[in-house]
């Protein structure tokens, strides 16, 4: 089992067309998982996270069914088999 990240449509072209990325290693938190994603697809990471290390305001990162903002943020634990889901928030549309 590994930890995976499911990407929204606009980011898949930046990850060789992948919908789901299997992360290398065994990150223990959501933040560590995003850091692992950065090593594999740095451009995808920068579309999700600002240069100051914050998840962009209109991007939601889910662990299971919960937005990590309502859990422990980037310190939210992840375990083998966790799917992290990246989704644009409804607040960002124009």
């Amino acid at each position: 089992m590994s930890i995976t990240v499911r990407l929204p449509g606009p980011l898949r072209q930046l990850a060789e067309g992948r919908t789901v990325v299997d992360l290398d290693g065994r990150p223990a938190t959501a933040g560590a998982a995003l850091a692992a994603l950065r090593r594999q697809y740095p451009t995808v990471y920068h579309r999700i996270v600002t240069e100051q290390g914050d998840v962009r305001p209109h991007i939601n990162v889910f662990v299971g069914d919960e937005d990590i903002r309502s859990l422990a943020g980037l310190e939210t634990p992840v375990v083998d088999g966790t799917e992290i889901v990246i989704l644009p928030a409804v607040s960002g549309g124009a």
Partner: protein
């Protein structure tokens, strides 16, 4: 899905309009008569584009655009085939340093540098800062003198955001560059960007208790003719000004305009005394005065202004022209162009005397840049 953009086919002497909107960028092409325009776009559909540019220095022909959206941030893209393809999607070249506490929100201005330095470029961004490239835009570095400026904690965002929207390098002196931000006002460096001094003397801040602070003004746009680099024209958030000393001091030139509130300003490409503006009624009602769409033109450097209305709607025109949505094309007679928040693009092929509707039905226009292809 919108139809895909394929770029434009154009020859030397043709005129290209680059139009940024809240939902993508569009390219328009005409021959030098400027009577008929072909549209290509949207490029970057769904993304806002507040800055575009065409760099023709050193024999190149490079289009630049800065698409972005609230979800995934902003990128800087370039095309060497007039929009057929764009590079830069995978690049993350414009970033504030980690630990600065600042994150890029939007690129407001793409400014190719001096003709004598064809690999030098500058961009103005939100939050207010100036980035510099010395390799033709491949890599970018924030200018530390502005990044760490002592005034930064007191700069506050205007309605459009905390933006550095105007970048004016001195064509003759590579150590001098002037920028304007909203709010913050005018700053100038005379030492290659190492230090920046506020240059707002005479410019009022109607929205502050002290109407003439050292800085904090809400400057909307500054225009300059390269043949008279020391003379600058400034459209303020209430106020229309001229400086004859590179911004050391500013004098009111709102002589006969229906309002001195507005955003857009452009100087004639061949006559340094001719400047175009589109006044708006007020900060509380940001539409053209009396619902008449008029471009005001001075031919005497602001001593007087005349309304240009031929071909433009003169009733029920609730139009707004934003700060970078007015430009000229360099031909003689000059083409003058502007775009509105209602998605219309207007053009004049006779120095602004008469106008034609070039395009209707676009998304809200955020910027217009025009150029004749070399």
């Amino acid at each position: 899905m919108p139809k895909s953009a394929s770029g434009i086919v154009a020859d030397s002497g043709d005129v290209v309009l680059m139009v940024g909107t809240t939902k993508g960028a569009f390219l328009l092409r005409a021959d030098r008569t400027r009577r008929s325009w072909a549209l290509d776009g949207p490029h970057f559909p769904g993304e806002e584009v507040y800055a575009v540019a065409l760099d023709q220095r050193g024999g190149r022909r490079v289009l630049w655009a800065a698409p972005g959206n609230p979800f995934f941030g902003t990128t800087l893209r370039r095309s060497e085939d007039l929009g057929a393809t764009w590079s830069g999607q995978q690049d993350v070249t414009v970033q504030f340093p980690e630990g600065s506490g600042l994150s890029l929100k939007r690129v407001w201005q793409i400014r190719p540098g001096r003709a004598s330095q064809p690999d030098h470029m500058l961009i103005g961004v939100e939050p207010s800062c100036l980035f510099e490239s010395t390799d033709g835009g491949a890599s970018w570095t924030p200018m530390a003198g502005l990044l760490n400026h002592a005034h930064r904690p007191k700069w506050t965002p205007g309605a459009g955001g905390m933006c550095l929207h105007t970048v004016i390098p001195d064509p003759a002196n590579s150590d001098r560059t002037l920028v304007a931000m909203s709010t913050g006002g005018v700053y100038r460096s005379d030492d290659g960007g190492g230090s920046w001094q506020a240059r707002n003397r005479g410019v009022r801040a109607e929205f502050l208790p002290d109407k003439h602070p050292e800085f904090g003004q809400c400057v909307h746009k500054i225009a300059q003719h390269p043949a008279r680099p020391e003379r600058l024209f400034l459209q303020n958030h209430w106020g229309l000004y001229r400086s004859t000393d590179w911004g050391d001091s500013w004098d009111d030139i709102a002589n006969g305009v229906p309002s001195d509130f507005g955003f857009a300003m452009a100087v004639h490409p061949h006559d340094p005394d001719t400047v175009f503006i589109v006044p708006l009624e007020s900060d509380m009602f940001r539409c053209v005065p009396e619902a008449k769409l008029r471009v005001f033109r001075t031919r005497n450097a602001g001593d007087s202004w005349e309304p240009m209305s031929s071909g433009l709607p003169q009733q029920d025109a609730y139009e707004t022209v934003l700060r970078d949505s007015l430009d000229t094309d360099g031909l003689d007679p000059a083409g003058v162009y502007f775009g509105t928040r209602s998605g219309r693009v207007w053009g004049s092929a006779d120095d602004g005397t008469s106008w034609l509707l070039i395009r209707d039905g676009l998304p809200p226009v955020t910027c217009v840049k025009a150029a004749a292809l070399a």
